[in-house]
């Protein structure tokens, strides 16, 4: 038998050929030209193979089946034609696989996504492990492309368009059980039966799965017209085709060419090839690598905390505690009285219900989260997180008492968003133990956590904090302890600028619409209401002093009147049961682009100031922080990347000109130009 670098071939006692994918020098299997080339020659040899009863494709790795195509290859194509040719070649290999006479089984443990799923769809059967790590799907759209190796054709053909196209368009992944229910997996079995199940399919050769008559109908020309219209409407409600063209393209392809014959494949390769070169895809791939970089920051420490103690059961503290318990930590949650903890327990239960679904898992998580009025958890915790109100004296007193009770190896962390660490740690015997671990609201949605280093914070404590952040599946961003750190520092001037624009007579819905069109998940005015105007005001007062930005009178007045935003039922907008009451349509003579330009430039000005002051190490980290901490339009690649794309020099000129036109002073020391070379 021929040997390969990335594939291992073995024949078992039943005459079944096992093809193990075991990519050289990698911990995870991904598909690149070399591995595909080898796979191609394996498939060729199987075409004439009469010795074996069948072939089972499995992973040679401990972790997962195939993570998809190697994303680092995405920007190596010469041009669209090159990319399209690569896709056509892959399609050919998979077509040969599909046409093999011998039975083929893909035996899947762990993740099987993107190109990985496209490789197993041409197999005659698929069996998967029914376990928590098994995820299947086509997440290509999250990288700004759509599947290009036949996935957009085979999946809807196999299970009908309703589920099939939904998976393509949403990019969501599903469990083994869900995949079996939809029909693109033949059996989801516990690990103990996996090998037997895989062999059983080869030995008994049952009929291959086919779409039901109804599912088949969904791919007919008539149904496609109708369904595509519905799906497009649904898609548009969520995303803007100008920002995220890939799913719309996949939908157009399906509507026009369906799932039969050669044309759909050709079209898929053609449009996917083009999408590789779209700005969106480039930037989403950039985001992917930014995310990998943040993950990589945590690798230096071997710290593996088991018990987390959280002081302060308010929105942030309670949700941090719940999130840690969800991720397997033992958590004690302390506050002064049971009545302050009880609402956090309810929220935790709802979170566990949503994420874990199965009652025994929910119960385990609930049992891991213990309300702890007397603070018994302090002595046992590996990480102690303070999330009480923003008051220096209170925080100092708390940490002083915590320090005397905590294990010497425990790290002390504050979730403060504004108080410098070196002010808090001044009361400690060992100030080097204090680090900032700053979460964003809502904790369960915002992936970013700022890991804040004060001047006295020890390196290994900061490294432990990074490691802890990864252990609970959040993205750590190291930042310097300066007012507002990174994310709030950049966000606040932007919000205040938006409030100023209200004062200039631009209606709130127009401002918000402009920023949503730019690609923000919500506009600045709605964001202020969501965060709470009292919170905004206190941050604005504090940061405004440092950044020399006047606090708008309107904000002060609103807080005085008790208009605190969503939570009080009225802020800039009115709310009913926590939902915004749609404001009346308003028109304005300003163009949306002018509005978003001004706000984005204000944001950029602060971003460049942060770089200049070294709040984060470089522009990439700044971009990552804004994307994962605020949802800054990912398809634009982050604020600094956006500025570079548009030209830093031009944007700066535009910014200063605008300021002068409004009669505002331009601070010459805050020039962006000096950063052009270094970044």
């Amino acid at each position: 038998m021929q040997t390969y670098k990335n594939w291992r071939l073995e024949t078992d006692n039943d005459g079944i050929l096992w093809v193990y994918f075991d990519k050289q020098d990698a911990s995870v299997n991904t598909l690149n030209p070399e591995t595909m080339e080898e796979f191609s020659s394996i498939v060729d040899s199987l075409a004439n193979d009469t010795q074996h009863k069948g072939v089972i494709i499995a992973s040679g790795k401990k972790n997962g089946f195939i993570a998809g195509a190697d994303i680092s290859q995405f920007n190596k194509f010469k041009d669209v034609a090159d990319a399209t040719a690569m896709l056509r070649k892959g399609q050919d290999i998979f077509e040969k696989l599909e046409n093999l006479k011998m039975p083929t089984v893909a035996m899947i443990e762990g993740f099987c996504v993107g190109g990985g799923l496209e490789l197993v769809l041409p197999c005659r059967y698929r069996v998967v492990e029914d376990g928590p790590k098994t995820r299947l799907g086509l997440p290509e759209v999250t990288l700004g492309i759509h599947p290009g190796w036949g996935g957009t054709v085979r999946l809807p053909r196999l299970i009908g368009a309703l589920n099939g196209m939904d998976l393509v368009l949403s990019g969501r992944t599903v469990s083994g059980k869900a995949a079996a229910k939809m029909g693109f997996v033949d059996a989801a079995v516990p690990k103990r039966h996996l090998v037997r199940a895989a062999k059983q399919y080869i030995l008994s050769k049952p009929a291959r799965h086919k779409a039901s008559w109804f599912q088949e109908l969904t791919n007919s020309k008539f149904a496609r017209k109708f369904l595509a219209k519905m799906m497009r409407k649904k898609l548009r409600a969520k995303i803007n085709p100008a920002h995220y063209p890939a799913p719309f393209q996949a939908l157009d392809n399906w509507e026009e060419f369906g799932v039969d014959g050669e044309m759909p494949y050709e079209q898929e390769a053609r449009t996917c090839g083009k999408l590789f070169f779209s700005e969106t895809s480039r930037n989403l791939v950039r985001c992917f690598f930014l995310q990998e970089r943040l993950k990589g920051l945590a690798k230096e420490s071997q710290f593996s905390p088991k018990h987390i103690h959280v002081v302060g059961a308010g929105t942030m503290g309670g949700d941090i505690a719940a999130w840690c318990a969800l991720k397997g930590m033992t958590v004690t949650l302390q506050d002064r009285e049971p009545k302050l903890i009880a609402p956090a327990i309810k929220r935790a239960y709802n979170l566990f219900k949503e994420k874990l679904k199965e009652p025994h898992l929910i119960q385990q998580a609930m049992d891991r989260l213990m309300p702890d009025v007397s603070g018994q958890g302090i002595a046992r915790a590996d990480v102690i997180i303070e999330a009480i109100y923003e008051d220096l004296a209170a925080k100092q007193a708390l940490f002083k008492s915590v320090e005397s009770k905590a294990k010497p190896t425990a790290i002390l962390a504050t979730n403060t968003s504004s108080i410098p660490l070196d002010d808090i740690n001044s009361v400690l015997d060992r100030p080097e133990r204090l680090v900032g671990i700053h979460f964003f609201n809502p904790v369960a949605k915002m992936q970013l956590v700022e890991v804040v280093k004060g001047d006295r914070t020890a390196d290994d404590v900061a490294a432990k904090a990074l490691s802890f952040t990864r252990k609970i599946d959040r993205l750590p961003l190291p930042v310097k302890s300066s007012p507002g750190f990174l994310v709030n520092r950049i966000l606040m001037p932007y919000l205040l600028e938006a409030v100023n624009m209200l004062d200039e007579g631009i209606p709130a819905p127009v401002i918000d619409k402009a920023m949503v069109e730019f690609g923000m998940p919500m506009g600045p005015i709605a964001l202020g209401d969501a965060v709470g105007l009292d919170v905004c005001l206190s941050v604005a007062k504090y940061l405004g002093k440092y950044l020399n930005i006047p606090v708008p009178q309107r904000l002060i007045t609103m807080v005085e009147q008790g208009k605190l935003g969503r939570k009080s039922g009225e802020g800039f907008y009115k709310y009913k049961n926590g939902k915004q009451i749609k404001p009346d349509d308003v028109s304005t003579d300003k163009s949306l682009e002018d509005i978003s330009d001004r706000l984005v430039l204000r944001m950029l000005d602060e971003a460049f100031a942060c770089l200049r002051e070294g709040v984060v190490a470089d522009g990439d980290l700044l971009d990552a922080g804004m994307i994962y901490g605020t949802g800054f339009a990912p398809f634009r690649g982050g604020p600094i990347h956006y500025a570079k794309t548009k030209g830093i020099h031009d944007l700066y000129q535009q910014y200063t000109r605008q300021k002068q036109l409004r009669g505002e002073k331009v601070d010459e020391t805050r020039t962006w130009e000096m950063l052009m070379e270094t970044n």
Partner: protein
């Protein structure tokens, strides 16, 4: 005959219980294991050792829910005790919690274990409704019908009365050998000792007042808050009526012997959810982990009697226990007699003061003595707090240990009556260290 001395001393190190939560006509927020976990994790969190250092968990529970088989093991695992640690469940009706402690005591005394978590739990509000026999047979017929004609034939056999549920709680509180419910046994005792409705109500009122005092004076350190998934939280026993009066109690109708009886819901224990857990340790464990000591468990006694006067069980068990140590009524500083019914506790007091009764039933030559009521159930009892059947036996032992400490007293007896005609009694001693 032989003496029953134990080989090793057994200490109560610490204990915690949930607030006792009155059943309010629908399933409460906690299952029996939820209650035990709620009290247990608070208890374990304040220990210097880890839950994995515990050698054994023994829990008493009369009616765990169907998905809580061997609830002792379930609670042990949910509390984070070691998977290799054995755990089990005991059932001696209303004394299940005390039975669990007795078993832990034995295991420590004979040297099998050093550190045992023991107690009881009960979610009476979640006692299930069962299908009656007619329904069960009809369902069996449906499942056994293999084809559509057979199914149809079975279907028409359905009768509306099949839907009448069997209330398992009522079954559990009825003695099948004599076909009397527990309230009726209390009526028999009241009749036997001439205990009037006014005496019962006065006792009930006192129970509420004492419990209310203990709560307002913050004298119940063992009560740990319980948190429900709904966002509700409970910090104190919610059956206690701070404002009840003789007049209010007097308006209640007899509940068990309708019309002419004297036992009402007001002078009976309440149907309640709750759990109480104790940490028991050998001298070795106390020294190893430098544990504070609450009390020493001297001995336990169980007694049997006529099921129709099961409420007198404490009179039998406690006198037998004290006789063994040659102790007299005045040697005991404080008593806890579980209040299943006011009539039954008063009956015990009367019985012990009655020459005839003590001669005929307890093998004494005269009355045991007149109980000083100011030393009995000083912080209230089941009438005010409720009687979660699996937990009460453990609750009174823990309360008694705290009462001895608070009063710098020496000895106490906790005793409980048991449906089916038994009594249990535990003698404890206030000590603060294990000596040398």
């Amino acid at each position: 005959m032989e003496t029953k001395t134990m080989r090793r001393d057994v200490y109560i190190v610490d204990g915690a219980r949930t607030p006792f939560l009155k059943a309010r006509g629908k399933p409460g927020p906690f299952s029996a294991s939820d209650l035990a976990v709620s009290a247990g994790r608070e208890l374990l969190a304040r220990q210097p050792f880890s839950p994995t250092d515990i050698d054994e968990v023994v829990l008493g529970c009369m009616m765990p829910s169907p998905d809580e088989a061997n609830i002792g093991r379930l609670v042990g695992l949910r509390l984070g005790c070691s998977k290799s640690m054995p755990a089990w469940t005991v059932q001696r009706n209303c004394a299940s919690g005390m039975e669990a402690i007795d078993n832990a005591v034995k295991d420590i005394a004979i040297g099998r274990h050093n550190l045992v978590l023991a107690g009881g739990t009960e979610s009476m509000s979640r006692a299930p409704l069962l299908f009656n026999n007619g329904m069960v047979n009809w369902l069996a017929g449906m499942w056994g019908s293999k084809n559509i004609p057979a199914k149809l034939k079975q279907l028409i056999k359905f009768r509306p009365q099949f839907l009448a549920p069997v209330i398992s709680l009522m079954k559990g509180l009825t003695d099948p050998t004599i076909n009397l419910n527990m309230g009726q046994t209390a009526e028999i005792i009241a009749h036997q000792f001439n205990i009037s409705r006014e005496q019962m109500d006065a006792f009930a009122l006192e129970s509420h007042q004492r419990a209310a005092n203990a709560i307002s004076n913050k004298q119940l350190p063992e009560v740990a808050a319980s948190y429900a998934t709904t966002g509700q939280f409970f910090i104190e026993d919610d059956g206690v009526r701070h404002d009840t009066t003789m007049e209010k109690l007097g308006t209640l109708k007899p509940f068990f012997d309708k019309k002419f009886g004297n036992v009402t819901a007001g002078n009976s224990s309440q149907v309640t959810d709750g759990a109480a857990l104790l940490l028991l340790a050998s001298k070795e464990a106390v020294q190893k982990y430098k544990l504070p000591v609450l009390a020493r468990i001297v001995d336990v006694e169980w007694a049997g009697l006529d099921p129709s006067v099961m409420g007198l069980g404490p009179a039998y068990a406690s006198t037998a226990l004290l006789k063994r140590y040659n102790l007299h009524l005045n040697d005991i500083d404080f008593w806890e007699i579980n209040e299943a019914f006011a009539a039954q506790v008063l009956g015990c007091v009367e019985a012990l003061a009655d020459d005839q009764f003590c001669r005929d039933n307890l093998g004494m030559d005269k009355a045991f003595g007149k109980m000083d009521m100011s030393r009995l159930n000083v912080d209230g009892g089941g009438v005010a707090l409720g009687h979660p059947v699996g937990a009460s036996g453990a609750r009174i032992v823990l309360r008694l240990a705290h009462i001895l400490k608070r009063n710098n007293a020496q000895r106490g007896v906790a005793s409980i009556c048991i449906g089916g005609g038994q009594g249990g009694a535990m003698l404890i001693e206030n000590v603060s260290s294990v000596g040398v």
